[in-house]
Symmetry: C2
DNA sequence: TGAAATTGTGCACTATAATGCACAAAAAGT
DNA sequence: ACTTTTTGTGCATTATAGTGCACAATTTCA
């Protein structure tokens, strides 16, 4: 279940089927147009919370039942299905594989840094930690004052609640996995 | 906590305060513009689920923590704060006082019908029931084939999963409270 | 098997969510 | 007290959610 919109679409389609309703039927019950309902089901749009609320009311289901992601287990995320966040003019590409989830309270990225690429980062929440494994290329990580250099296969864990930065000093593409963990708050 | 947008605004404002962040800070963390965040906090807009999701990620909180309504208890809904759904060209005014909530699984309306006003209704979900108390005026309710006439102070309960209708045959305004209960599904 | 109703999709148009910049008020630093 | 930074709001513009109608495919019923 890739993105939220697509997930909502699946939920709506399922809930509608359970009540054996047509798009037209749901439209009359909820006051949301048939076209919009179709687009939501296909995951083509990101509905506003107000329309989502009207749909939930029309179907007499909870708001969260439309938003909740089915916890498929195991869950496979194909490489091509996740687009990168571009940094440093394209030299740094950040692929969010498992985005933040309040349940598990960490997020996982796949990061690529071209030779010479540089990415500074502000400190995260207090207590946050990062776990990085470098798979290929070279990586220099600065945390506060200290700098650490990683070779392929090396890993690092550090407290990420202070400013830090990533830099590829080598001549090859640097590829790594990064996990950011957020300390559970009150 | 009147409507959903206003409710989300309160949640965001509170969560932002807990982390001692400025609008600008949340904007940087979430990728949502400062202006939009301000409008969301003030309840001026109904954000899309995607922006709400980005905000939740930026703050590292769950999606539902932004949507959840604080269960104030007791909860007072002033008369003027709830606008009517207009039917039969204005002769029937339907005020949703306590909208549907999956938790309690019923909803409550205050309904006014002018003399001669008529409102047909399709059957609701199977197992649904209606509970009506007439406070003033006259009310004739047709359920399936049978018709029932109510005088001020009378109440009625009936299975509402079949087509039914409301009619004011008298010369005075008919005022009533209506509760619709939906049988809990699997 | 044809007519009539019902289903979901496509498209032009409208309403509004979302952005970026500028501004005024408050807070912090000198 | 004056400057400098940070705070939140207002406004013009852009992007997109949302609507209504029409269409094609399917289903229903005579």
């Amino acid at each position: 279940m890739e993105n939220l919109s697509h997930c909502i679409g699946e939920n709506l389609k399922r809930l509608r089927a359970e009540q054996a309703l047509s798009l037209d039927g749901v439209a009359k019950l909820s006051g949301v147009s048939k076209s919009m309902l179709g687009q939501v089901e296909r995951g083509e749009v990101s509905p506003t919370v107000s329309t989502l609320w009207r749909i939930a009311n029309g179907l007499k289901v909870s708001f969260s039942s439309l938003v909740k992601r089915s916890q498929d287990d195991p869950e496979v995320i194909p490489r091509d299905e996740v687009g990168p966040l571009i940094e440093d003019g394209g030299k740094v590409r950040n692929y969010p594989i498992f985005p933040f989830d309040a349940e598990r309270s960490f997020e996982m990225y796949r990061v690529e840094i071209d030779p010479g690429g540089y990415l500074p980062a502000e400190g995260h929440n207090t207590g946050a930690q990062e776990f990085i494994t470098l798979h290929s290329g070279q990586l220099a990580i600065r945390v506060g004052e200290a700098e650490h250099t990683l070779d392929p296969g090396d890993s690092i864990r550090f407290k990420a609640d202070v400013p830090h930065s990533y830099h590829n000093p080598g001549g090859d593409l640097a590829r790594m996995s990064m996990v950011i963990y957020y300390a559970r708050s009150s």
